[in-house]
Amino acid sequence: MAGARRDTAPPRTRSDVGESDDALLAVRAAEGDEDAFAVLVQRHAPALIRLATRLLDTRSEAEDAVQDAFISAWRRLPEFHGRSAFGTWMYRIVTNRCLNILRARRPVSPLEAAGDVPAPDHAASPARITEARGAVRELRAALDDLSPEQRACWVLREWDGQSYEFIADAVGISQEAVRARVFRARRSLTQALGAWR
């Protein structure tokens, strides 16, 4: 069999390869190889910071949340055992961290919140730009009025494009509970946009 090619295996995609390499690095990190862990941090941090920024709305808080999540992951790696993909596991840790931050947040006054909203820089015609900007600003403000759980489920579903099954796993509740929260969030948001128009 020397040099024989195995042509029967299904073709593998780059993301399969990435997951396989993540699993290998996670095992090494669990065994104390901090360089392997640094590679995982570099690889996964950008997507996790984007997720946390969407959940929390401020970049600096998002970076702190992701930093804490990685440190927590380093401590918990010996018990990780690769039951899910490393990326999924981190996504779950970051989501939970952000949920706790949202729950602990005191209500922000509308003026403070308005200062945080960056104007989106693309849309079609000038009239559409004004309208879209107004609606986006209104949407961001309305997001602050959702409960932390509604906000998290809605952001993961609508903005991050995750399945209900994935969100249920990430947040640690049933799919039905996720559906109920997304529904309530949509209801609040459509009403807010309706009022704005």
Binding site: G3, L24, E31, G32, D33, Q67, P120, R179, Q191
Partner: protein, 206 residues
């Protein structure tokens, strides 16, 4: 939200609404999201208004900034440094492993030895080393020869027995020459096969 404009629906409970046609808002939106074809919903003005509200929301979501993941790479170096600063204060060096002769009282931490042995295995083109455990023979009092248990990802086009033998020799050589470690056996477990066509950084030059 407190500033509701009262829609022409009836509240069923705190969560849902019954539309004037009798359908529940949650059901109408759910059918829309699942892409269910429903003749009633296609023609009913109340259902269509409810779906239009949701579609309006979706269009605003699409107007949110696109934010490609690359935009989140600026702070990466400092974030990685901050994480790794903490990690290096909380290293997991593993157990001390005996080096040299039994009488010598010389030890190396498991994770340090594993780093060298993994690097030795990866000297074989196309091989990636994963778990690397050192197993002392405790019946010999924890000193004396060790067994190495090494997991590797191997190139899919390699002959595995021959590859395993080459990896074993590389590991034994580094253990002997670089670490001065007495190894009784190197058990190699192939945990994944890498397609050289996909994994194009390594394993091409075979």
């Amino acid at each position: 939200m407190t500033a509701h404009t009262d829609p022409p629906h009836h509240a069923v409970d705190g969560d849902d609404e019954q539309l004037a046609c009798g359908r529940l808002l949650s059901g109408v939106w759910d059918a829309w999201e699942r892409g269910h074809e429903d003749p009633h919903q296609r023609t009913c003005p109340h259902c269509r208004a409810a779906v239009a509200e949701l579609e309006e929301l979706e269009s605003v979501v699409r107007a949110l900034p696109e934010e490609p993941v690359e935009r989140y790479k600026d702070e990466l170096t400092s974030l990685t440094r901050r994480v790794m600063d903490v990690v290096r204060l909380e290293l997991r060096p593993g157990r001390p492993m005996p080096l040299g002769e039994p009488a010598e009282d010389l030890w190396i931490m498991e994770s340090v030895a594993a780093r060298s042995l993994r690097a030795a295995a990866e000297g074989e083109p196309g091989v990636r080393a994963g778990s690397c455990r050192l197993l002392p023979h405790f019946d010999a009092g924890g000193t004396g020869p060790l067994d190495v248990r090494l997991d590797v990802h191997a190139p899919a086009d390699a002959s595995l027995p021959e590859l395993a033998e080459r990896v074993r020799l590389r590991v034994l050589e580094v253990a002997d020459r670089q670490l001065g470690m007495d190894i009784a056996a190197v058990d190699i477990r192939v945990t994944d096969l890498l397609d050289p066509a996909v994994d194009d950084q390594e394993g091409r030059d075979r």
